[in-house]
Subunit: 263 residues, 2 copies
Amino acid sequence: MIIVKIGGGAGINLQGIIQDLAQIREKFIIVHGANALRDKLAEDLGQPKKVVTSVSGYSSVYSDERLIDQMMMAYAGARNKRIVELCQQNGINAVGLCGLDGKSIQGVRNKGIRVYREGKLKILRDYSGKPESVNRGLLDLLLDHGYVPVLTVPIIDEQNTAINTENDDVVRVLQKTLRAHTVINLIEAPGFLENKEDETSLIRRIPVVELERREQQVDGRMKRKMLAVRKLFEVGASRVIIADGRGEHPVTDALSGKGTVIE
Amino acid sequence: MIIVKIGGGAGINLQGIIQDLAQIREKFIIVHGANALRDKLAEDLGQPKKVVTSVSGYSSVYSDERLIDQMMMAYAGARNKRIVELCQQNGINAVGLCGLDGKSIQGVRNKGIRVYREGKLKILRDYSGKPESVNRGLLDLLLDHGYVPVLTVPIIDEQNTAINTENDDVVRVLQKTLRAHTVINLIEAPGFLENKEDETSLIRRIPVVELERREQQVDGRMKRKMLAVRKLFEVGASRVIIADGRGEHPVTDALSGKGTVIE
């Protein structure tokens, strides 16, 4: 079993990725993002993301009902169905699901963010949370009958409400259940870079024991990504490959050792 | 087996419909539209529908790639996933699928519309077509394991491309395969009206033999709808109920004989 996470950047070569996947002779599952599409949709609709800052100074996207609608449109709608279409065109019998479908990805809603509003401390609750489990029965049912699940957000919370979450966390929960031997993470960079401004500074191998140190080296999205990678090894991954999703053969290249291989 | 078609109008009471469906003690499948949402999305995006007129004077929506994206966002995205969410909140383990997913609804793409462009006869081809078959294996797999398929457009054509089609035609192809005893069609009207301007002019019973005459009586969408109903009886339906999707209990009311019952 392989888990393939496809980033949601505009530069990702979906066609190349799906063509490569059509050559794979073992079971795999796709998890994908759609952040570029969501951002463009939000911009075209004149509905920019709301960002809130907690009392502890931590900023995060405020996932209101409108943002969940946008996610349903961009992630579970256009991006998911275009990936499924590409899969079908390449002989992969894909079934696109968000976490609500058959409760495929279940999570727990965040308790709220502590913010100051007009001088008062308030708890601001939004539709976001953390994935906790997957519906293995449904995924196995599909996999055992030759279908390839193509998963994305939103997921479903303990009250059966749609919530936003990080796709990296979805991959972790999937890995916890499915115990894939390899997780491929396709991003808009050649892999983990020594210097994020320099695409030639690719680090080709990272032993698992060095992950924590590497995590300290970076910030922002990459820091979160490296933390997510470290957690994958806590739930049984034996190999994680962070590789370029922009090339002609992103998956073949990743599996042949291009990108950053963490073992 | 019951097939429930939920219209895509803004006045449809989704909550009431799903609450009613949660009480049904036999297998059912949902097919839904999203035209109000799609029209609003197109308007908000400043991307109005293109309408083309054929040489024979017949007007139709031109389904270009952008329109398919909008359908993926509105039908397969926001509307489908909000219906799935409501189902989950009412104890129905729904799985939302468009026709691309597992090739659940397969069709044939239209050959093109003959139009005049700058004085010349041209064939204008778009992404539209007619459904021909459903993937019964996938639907049965889900139904037999307690999942309720929630189906919508786009569907998949013979080249594995996403195409637009009429949901009424999707219902017909489903009926041909699944042989439901009852098809419920929930719309934004009390049923079939003698006078479309007068909601009190509901016709409560229409024998199947009278369908063709009733079809002559109306025009536009309702004419197409009545033709679609007639075709349902050609593929084994024993009862079709056209009922109001706006009330408090749309499905319970329909099954208790409110609306137009065609037998």
